[in-house]
C-alpha cells in the first residue's frame, strides 16, 4: 500500500506532470506538491507526487540509475 517510486519530472502542465523513470512515462497529479518543476526528482504514490527528493538524494538516485543502465541491470 505504501509503494512509492522515485521518478524525474519531464513536463509540468497545470495540476499535472509527466514523470519518467527508466523510460516509463506516467501522467501524475501535482496537487499535493505544486512547487515541482521540470528536472526535479520526485516521489510518486498512487498517481500523486507526494514529495520532492532533496538534491543530494536526487544525485544519488540518478547515479545509481546511471550505473544500472551502464551495466545493463543487476550484477
Amino acid at each position: 500500500m505504501c509503494l512509492a517510486v522515485p521518478a524525474q519530472v519531464k513536463n509540468c502542465d497545470g495540476n499535472e506532470a509527466i514523470v519518467d523513470l527508466h523510460g516509463n512515462r506516467v501522467r501524475v497529479s501535482t496537487v499535493l506538491s505544486p512547487e515541482v518543476k521540470e528536472g526535479d526528482w520526485v516521489l510518486v504514490h498512487a498517481g500523486f507526487v507526494i514529495q520532492q527528493l532533496t538534491p543530494e538524494a536526487a544525485a544519488e538516485t540518478f547515479a545509481v540509475l546511471a550505473d544500472l543502465v551502464e551495466k545493463g541491470g543487476p550484477p
Partner: protein, 337 residues
C-alpha cells in the same frame, strides 16, 4: 455488418463464407502445401522414434501489445513448449475462435504475425479450424495451438534427472512479457519502453543441445514466472533450490513497472526465455552456447540445487539473507498469455 470488414457468425459455419475466409484471409498468410490441401487431417511432415505433442490456448488481452500480439504468442508459446522438451517442432495446428464483429484487419494482422513467427521457428501451420461465436464473447479472439515435434534421440529431459549440485541458468531478462501486457492493459496511458520478449527459442535450444551434454531439464517461465518454475523444480524433486537474487537479470524499466503495478516481478511471465537445469561441470559451456544466440545474450547462472530434502525453493537475497519462494497463487495476473 460489412462482411468484407468484419467477421460474422456465418464465417464459422463451415459453408461458403468459411471457404471465403480461408481462401482470402488465412491461406494467403499461412499457406503451404500441406495446409492448402484443406483436408480434415494433415500428414505430419517427418517422423521420429519419439514424438512430443503439446497444446496451449492463448487468451491474451489486449490482442496487440508492445513487442508482439496474440498471433506471435500463439506460435512461440507452443514451439517453446516443444523445444524445452528437446523436441524439434514438425507442425502446428491452429484453432481460431473469433467473436462476431471482429475486424478482418485485426485477424489479418494476427495471421501475419503467426506466419512471421512460424518462419522464424522454421515450422508450418499444417492444419487449422475456425469458429465464430456471438458478439462480445471470446473478447475478440482466442487461439489454441497444438504442436507436434520429434524428440532428439537418446535425450530424456525430466525433473527426475535433477541432482544436488546442478545449476540453474536463465537465458535472459525476466518478466518483460507479462509486464508489457499488464501495463498496456491496466495503464494504457503510460508511455513505456517495455516490450514483450515473445520469441521462438527452438533454434537457440537446438544449438545448446548440440553443443552441450549435461542439460537435464528445461522449462519456460511463462505463467507464474521464474518463481513458479524454481518452486516447481524443488517440489517435484524433493530437493532444495536456491536462487541468487543479485544474479537474476531484470531490466530496470520492467522492475519499475512491477513496482508501479504492485506486482512481484519474480512471478511474472516471460515468453522468450528458458530456465535450463544443467550438470555443474557443463554450466559454463551451456552459458556460452546460449549467449551465442540473439535470444540468449543476457543468459546468467542464477542458482543451484542443494541436497537438503525439503522440496523448498529459497531466494538468497541481495542483503545476504534467505527467504522462501513459494509457487504463486496465480490469481493476480489474468489474461497474460
Amino acid at each position: 455488418m460489412d462482411k468484407s470488414k468484419h467477421i460474422v457468425l456465418a464465417h464459422g459455419g463451415g459453408g461458403q463464407l468459411t471457404d471465403e475466409l480461408i481462401a482470402n484471409t488465412l491461406l494467403p498468410r499461412l499457406g503451404n502445401e500441406t495446409l492448402g490441401q484443406l483436408l480434415d487431417s494433415s500428414i505430419v511432415p517427418g517422423t521420429a522414434e519419439r514424438m512430443a505433442m503439446t497444446i496451449d490456448s492463448y487468451v491474451v488481452r489486449p490482442l496487440f501489445f508492445p513487442g508482439g500480439d496474440i498471433g506471435r504468442l500463439a506460435v512461440c508459446g507452443t514451439v517453446n513448449d516443444l523445444a524445452v522438451c528437446g523436441a524439434e517442432p514438425l507442425g502446428l495446428a491452429l484453432s481460431l475462435i473469433m467473436a462476431e464483429g471482429l475486424e478482418r484487419e485485426v485477424l489479418e494482422s494476427a495471421m501475419n504475425s503467426v506466419r512471421e513467427a512460424a518462419d522464424e521457428a522454421g515450422v508450418k501451420v499444417i492444419t487449422g479450424d475456425t469458429k465464430v461465436v456471438g458478439r462480445g464473447q471470446a473478447d475478440g479472439m482466442y487461439i489454441t495451438t497444438a504442436g507436434v515435434g520429434s524428440v532428439r534421440e537418446g535425450l530424456r529431459l525430466h525433473p527426475d534427472q535433477i541432482r544436488a549440485g546442478d545449476k540453474l541458468i536463465i537465458s535472459g531478462t525476466i518478466a518483460d512479457h507479462g509486464l508489457a501486457v499488464m501495463l498496456a492493459r491496466e495503464m494504457p496511458e503510460v508511455q513505456s519502453v517495455l516490450r514483450s520478449d515473445v520469441a521462438p527459442l527452438n533454434r537457440m535450444i537446438g544449438r545448446l543441445l548440440d553443443k552441450v551434454s549435461g542439460v537435464v531439464f528445461m522449462r519456460d517461465p511463462t505463467r507464474g514466472g521464474l518463481a513458479c518454475v524454481a518452486a516447481d523444480i524443488a517440489g517435484r524433486t524433493g530437493l532444495h533450490v536456491v536462487l541468487d537474487e543479485g544474479r537474476i537479470p531484470i531490466r530496470a524499466e520492467t522492475r519499475h513497472a512491477a513496482d508501479m503495478l504492485g506486482l512481484e516481478v519474480l512471478e511474472v511471465a516471460s515468453e522468450g526465455k528458458v530456465v535450463v537445469v544443467v550438470r555443474p561441470e557443463a554450466a559454463e559451456a551451456a552459458l556460452g552456447a546460449l549467449r551465442e544466440d540473439e535470444h540468449g545474450r543476457d543468459a546468467r547462472i542464477i542458482g543451484q540445487v542443494e541436497d537438503t530434502r525439503d522440496g523448498l525453493c529459497e531466494l538468497q537475497t541481495v542483503l545476504g539473507g534467505r527467504r522462501i519462494m513459494l509457487k504463486p497463487y496465480g490469481e493476480q495476473l489474468s489474461r497474460i498469455c
